[in-house]
């Protein structure tokens, strides 16, 4: 293995001299490429939607699109309102709701010809006022709105309406709470149901008869369509615009004076998501500022700060520019890629510049310091970059599209940070050196300013000097402590629950959280999902056996999963209601008729009376239908189990119908189910990939260092930060969610970076004379400083995020800080103890050397 690393070391150490020979040519090339790639940034495709998480050919996505094709969007807004007079049936409450409904639907009156509005996304508004009721009076059958245009002024009439509303099975909880103190407005939108063509353009609905041939309507042959129908994914901006337009109406004084509104759904959530993103953005800026301050504090040179940031910024711009050229679609994970580039870029440049200033302090010349540090640290950086890239690529083994893009972009970012550190940093360091001789006078202001703060580099060196002797005295005890910690954490990690709750991204006191809680406690809940049934045969849903099974299944859901399911609705409920109304409203007739013709004609009557509602529940051929399931809010851990059980119940139901409907298929879909399934899938899968990544890294280390002992020794300090994080999550009973899982690549990056740097440096030292103790001391002095610098810079940078209001971001900050610090402790104590106990010398034999190494000499000076 020496044979591999040695030529690489030699090549890397020769890079500074090579690039400096033509430094202005290279610099021009770098600038030109950067300008070219930056110009390409505008071509970046963004997709911040939940639909974007899943590949187009994934069965869940196909079912989701199929549902949208058939039944339109289910991504609506549910506005819960609380009248101040405490009664949703008071004259004032009803009048206001009628006005709001009118404002939502008739906004066009205030628009100019051709002017568009965010409210154009509204497809339908359902309220107590226009909720359609089928009423039987003598032989009259009325299909009409519950209240209609005229709000009854007298109490008696309103009480009559209240009684009708209460008797409608589907109205309570949907339109009013049990105590009538809360009401609900449902807004159906076209979000996710706007068809697009292969290029993502919205399909034009205008059909020109001149070009059209339709002598006979022929049935499209199966498989004749090349592409399944695709829909425009809903962007955050669409949600925010609609939310603002709705807010403008709800905030009108005449409404706001009498009512409080608690909107839920993706549309109002977008407003709070934006706040969270803003908070996250601010915290990232704060983290960056902390890193800048610490960089200056440790190096005392603005050049060090500038060049570190240049490496980070260039790596980011190039990564994004190349991604644009490759046609990759950026998702919400972009922020994580940037964070990773920031981590790796700063670590890479700090390792080089810290080593460089260490050697310069020891009176080595500019060029020879560069050569020397690139030989030792440059090789370590190559190893860390490769292992990190392997780790990230291992995460790519998931079918979740944004993760794949994230893996490609992050691997690219890591490589570019390494590339710039090796080929550009020497030029930059040559132009503006990150080190100044203490003999040269400083500018007065900076001298005074700098003197306020103690020089941390010197304090650190003193601490580092004491570290190895400390470990030398009690290596076994140290190993014991670390192994005990590992054991405790491993036990803890078995107790970790994978769970993502949609609400966790909002702070406890967030109004949106409160809105969801109000919806959960008083009304039908903020979330819903859909069971989409295709029985493969026309008129299947006119078969009494089918509707009876469907009805049974719904009641089973409501009873068995009463903790989660608020209510269900389907064509079966409609059939029961219509049959009852056709039979003088007698309660005993609230059932699915047994006779197929009776059922068919009952549905025929309903279809004539209310075709819109029928189309939302069952398709024209009565072959495909859906069951809407209103849900309470719980995390993905519970829902993944509930979904699984529900799927079993549905399968049992379809199996019972298999004799007549052999081709029946059922899928659970809807944006909530999609999000829950994806979150669960994502976290579970990522946990697995994380393990694969760690193993892959350990194998690489084993191969590169050519020693099983070294590979094993490197493995433990790499594992500990991750195990520690998992263990703590387990012991603290905190879920491994989407946000804590986002840490995985960062933890891998940092622990690998530190450990590999340390071992490479140690290898470099120990093969000189085989003297383990001396090699450890020298490694600690040189690499230890860089480790401390990077850990403190990145640890405190991450740590600031623990101040976030949102639990997700805050946990990321806390655990990120912890993982980084644990990684540092591992490298300072655990790794040296392992090296000492297992006598890891890379096969080098201890030699008596008469001359004292240059570094040791300079060390004495320090």
């Amino acid at each position: 293995m020496k044979n591999i690393l040695n030529p690489v070391s030699r090549y890397i150490s020769s890079v500074p001299d090579k690039v400096l020979k033509r430094k202005y040519l290279y610099l021009t090339l770098f600038i030109a490429a950067t300008v070219f790639l930056a110009a390409n940034l505008s071509n970046l495709k963004m997709d911040m939607t939940i639909e974007g998480w899943i590949q187009d050919d994934d069965p869940t996505k196909i079912a989701f699109n199929e549902y949208h094709t058939q039944f339109g969007s289910e991504d609506g807004v549910y506005i819960i309102y609380k009248p101040k007079d405490g009664d949703v049936f008071s004259e004032r409450s009803l009048s206001i709701i009628k006005s709001i409904q009118n404002d939502f639907l008739n906004y066009r009156e205030n628009l100019k010809e051709g002017e568009t509005s965010a409210l154009d996304h509204i497809v339908k508004v359902n309220t107590l006022v226009n909720a359609r009721v089928l009423t039987a009076e003598d032989d009259f059958l009325y299909a009409r709105p519950l209240v209609g245009n005229n709000i009854p002024a007298n109490q008696e009439e309103r009480e009559r309406l209240r009684e009708i509303a209460k008797s409608e099975k589907q109205f309570p909880l949907q339109y009013f709470s049990k105590d009538m103190k809360f009401g609900g407005i449902h807004i159906e939108t076209d979000f996710g149901a706007v068809p697009i063509d292969e290029d993502g353009k919205v399909l034009d609905d205008g059909i020109e008869i001149g070009d059209l041939v339709f002598e006979d309507l022929e049935l499209e042959k199966e498989g004749s369509t090349k592409m399944p129908v695709r829909f425009k994914p809903t962007d955050q901006v669409d949600y925010i615009k609609l939310n603002t337009a709705l807010r403008e109406i709800l905030d009108k004084p005449e409404y706001a004076e009498h009512m409080e509104f608690y909107p839920v759904g993706n549309t109002p959530a977008a407003e709070y998501d934006l706040l969270m993103v803003e908070e996250m953005g601010n915290l990232y800026m704060a983290a960056l500022l902390i890193m800048v301050v610490l960089l200056w504090y440790f190096f005392r040179r603005f050049s060090a700060v500038t060049w570190s940031l240049v490496i980070v910024i260039l790596s980011t711009v190039w990564t994004l520019g190349i991604s644009a050229l490759l046609g990759l679609t950026i998702t919400g994970f972009l922020i994580l890629t940037i964070l990773l580039i920031l981590t790796v870029g700063i670590a890479d440049s700090v390792h080089i510049m810290s080593g460089y200033s260490f050697l310069r302090t020891k009176k080595e010349g500019h060029r020879s310091s560069m050569r020397s540090i690139y030989r030792s640290t440059g090789t370590a950086l190559l190893l860390t970059a490769s292992t990190n890239m392997v780790g990230i690529i291992a995460l790519n083994s998931t079918p979740v599209v944004p993760i794949q893009t994230f893996a490609i972009m992050s691997a690219m970012g890591i490589f570019l940070a390494f590339f710039f550190t090796i080929y550009l940093l020497p030029i930059l360091m040559d132009i503006w050196k990150p080190w100044r001789s203490s003999e040269r006078p400083k500018a007065k202001f900076f001298q005074k300013f700098g003197n306020i703060f103690p020089n941390f580099a010197r304090i650190m060196q003193k601490i580092l000097e004491k570290t190895v002797p400390f470990v030398e005295k009690r290596p076994i005890a140290i190993l014991g402590v670390f192994m005990a910690v590992i054991l405790i954490c491993v036990i803890g990690s078995f107790q970790v629950k994978v769970n993502s709750n949609m609400l966790d991204q909002y702070p406890d006191d967030s109004p949106f959280r409160q809105n969801v809680e109000i919806a959960d406690e008083n009304m039908m809940g903020a979330y819903s999902m859909v069971a989409f049934l295709d029985l493969g045969k026309a008129n299947a849903f006119k078969d009494p056996a089918v509707l009876q099974s469907m009805d049974k299944l719904q009641r089973q859901f409501e009873k068995k999963y009463s903790k989660y399911v608020v209510m269900t609705s389907s064509i079966a409920d409609v059939a029961k209601d219509a049959y009852k109304k056709l039979n003088e409203g007698k309660q005993e007739n609230y059932a699915i008729p047994d006779d197929a013709n009776v059922l068919s004609q009952t549905l025929f009557m309903f279809n004539n009376a209310n075709p819109e509602d029928r189309k939302r529940l069952v398709d024209d051929n009565y072959q495909k239908a859906n069951i809407k399931i209103a849900l309470h809010n719980y995390g993905s851990y519970e829902y993944s189990k509930v979904f699984e059980n529900m799927q079993k119940d549905i399968s049992a139901m379809t199996n019972s119908l298999k004799k007549d409907y052999g081709k029946a298929t059922v899928s659970i879909t809807g944006i909530f189910a999609l999000a829950m399934q994806t979150a669960d899938y994502l976290t579970k899968n990522e946990a697995k990939s994380f393990g694969v990544a760690l193993i892959a890294i350990c194998i690489i280390l084993l191969l590169v260092f050519g020693s099983f002992k070294v590979g094993a020794a490197a493995m433990f300090p790499n594992l500990l930060p991750a195990i520690m994080t998992f263990g703590l999550l387990g012991w603290l009973n905190m879920p491994l969610d989407f946000y804590t899982m986002m840490l995985a690549p960062i933890i891998i990056g940092i622990s690998v970076d530190d450990t590999v740097t340390f071992i490479t440096q140690y290898r470099h030292e120990v093969i000189k004379d085989g003297n383990i103790k001396r090699a450890l001391k020298d490694t600690m002095k040189e690499a230890g400083q860089a480790l401390l610098f990077t850990s403190l810079i990145l640890g405190l940078g991450f740590g600031i995020m623990s101040l976030a209001d949102a639990a997700g971001t805050s946990n990321m900050g806390k655990f990120g800080f912890l993982a980084i610090m644990v990684g540092l402790l591992c490298d300072l104590f655990f790794l040296p103890a392992l090296i000492l106990v297992f006598k890891l010398s890379f096969g080098a034999k201890q030699e008596e050397k008469s001359h004292i190494k240059l570094k040791e000499e300079v060390h004495e000076v320090v």
């Binding site: 009409r144 059909i207 051929n621």
Partner: protein, 301 residues
């Protein structure tokens, strides 16, 4: 002065002419619609017809509309009779009987439309339940119920009252090889509250005065449906649309309307438009047998 007054006069003249043209156009638009209404509604006073509705979700490929699922076919027999109550004003009674699909066979609908009444009287007979139900449907501007579950809504098949709209010619041209006027109809304020449509643009055949196409805009002002006349036949002195399609652009569904056979101006008993015809199968069949003798085949099923 001379040189100045000439152009001024010219401008004035053009202004007067154009104002007149606007007036003429407004006048013409309404007149055209009245004429079309006469052809559509006042050239025969009774009819019997057999109609086929074919409905499905469509997809558009290579300029062809294709069904994405098996089309739903409903065949209906319709008998109708007009009662002129004043010039260009009539009450209409009609009975629609479902022939197929089998599960709905015998289901029938009786409709009484009175000239001065906003809402129609509407009865539905469901043979499997043995019940006649009078259905009152008030929608306050929402989309009205559907005709036999097709893309034709009750409002689409109801006669648009000329007084309820203002008309304007917005263009002329050729449509389906026929010269046409393009006329926009905007509902009056009172009608706007009742109708689902904010605007209707009608293509009227200049020579035959029949409707060639309707573009129906929803309350948002978006094109919502298109009614396209595919075939017009001249039968017994009547220009009649025998094939048309209603395309719902919102739900991407289409219904083809085909007249399979038709007959005009026969004697129809007033008592036929009562509940007896709905429930008494023997009576209804006896009468229908008589009326069917007037049917002339337009298109073989």
């Amino acid at each position: 002065m001379k040189s100045f007054s000439k152009p001024l006069l010219l401008v004035l003249a053009i202004y007067c002419i154009s104002m007149n043209t606007v007036e003429l156009h407004a006048q013409n638009a309404k007149e055209i619609i009245i004429k079309m209404d006469s052809v559509e509604n006042f050239t025969y006073d009774s009819s019997v017809r057999k109609i086929k509705f074919t409905s499905c979700r469509y997809s558009l490929s290579g300029g062809r509309l294709k069904c994405k699922n098996s089309p739903r076919i409903t065949v209906v027999e319709n008998v109708h009779k007009d009662y002129i109550v004043a010039p260009k004003k009539k009450d209409v009674n009609s009975l629609d009987i479902v022939v197929s699909p089998i599960a709905e066979k015998g289901t029938n609908m009786l409709v009484w439309k009175e000239a001065d009444q906003e809402d129609n009287d509407f009865w539905l007979y469901l043979p499997a339940l043995g019940k006649v139900k009078r259905i009152a449907s008030s929608n306050d501007g929402a989309e009205t119920g559907s005709v036999f579950g097709t893309e034709f809504s009750i409002e689409d098949v109801s006669q648009r009252k000329i007084k309820d709209y203002t008309y304007k010619i917005i263009g002329e041209g050729i449509f389906n090889k026929r010269p046409v006027w393009k006329i926009a109809a905007i509902p009056t304020a009172a009608r706007a509250k009742k109708t689902f449509y904010s605007k209707v643009i009608t293509w009227v055949d200049k020579e035959r005065l029949v409707k060639m196409k309707d573009e129906l805009f929803n309350r948002k002002g978006d094109l919502f449906k298109q009614l396209i006349t595919k075939k017009v036949d001249y039968i017994d002195g009547v220009w009649i649309v025998t094939e048309s399609s209603m395309i719902n652009l919102n739900s991407r569904r289409i219904t083809n309307y085909d007249v399979l056979s038709i007959g005009f101006n026969m004697e129809i008993d007033d008592s036929f438009f009562t509940q007896r015809s709905m429930t008494d199968f023997a009576y209804k069949e006896k009468k229908m047998k008589e009326y069917r003798t007037h049917l002339k085949v337009v298109k073989s099923n």
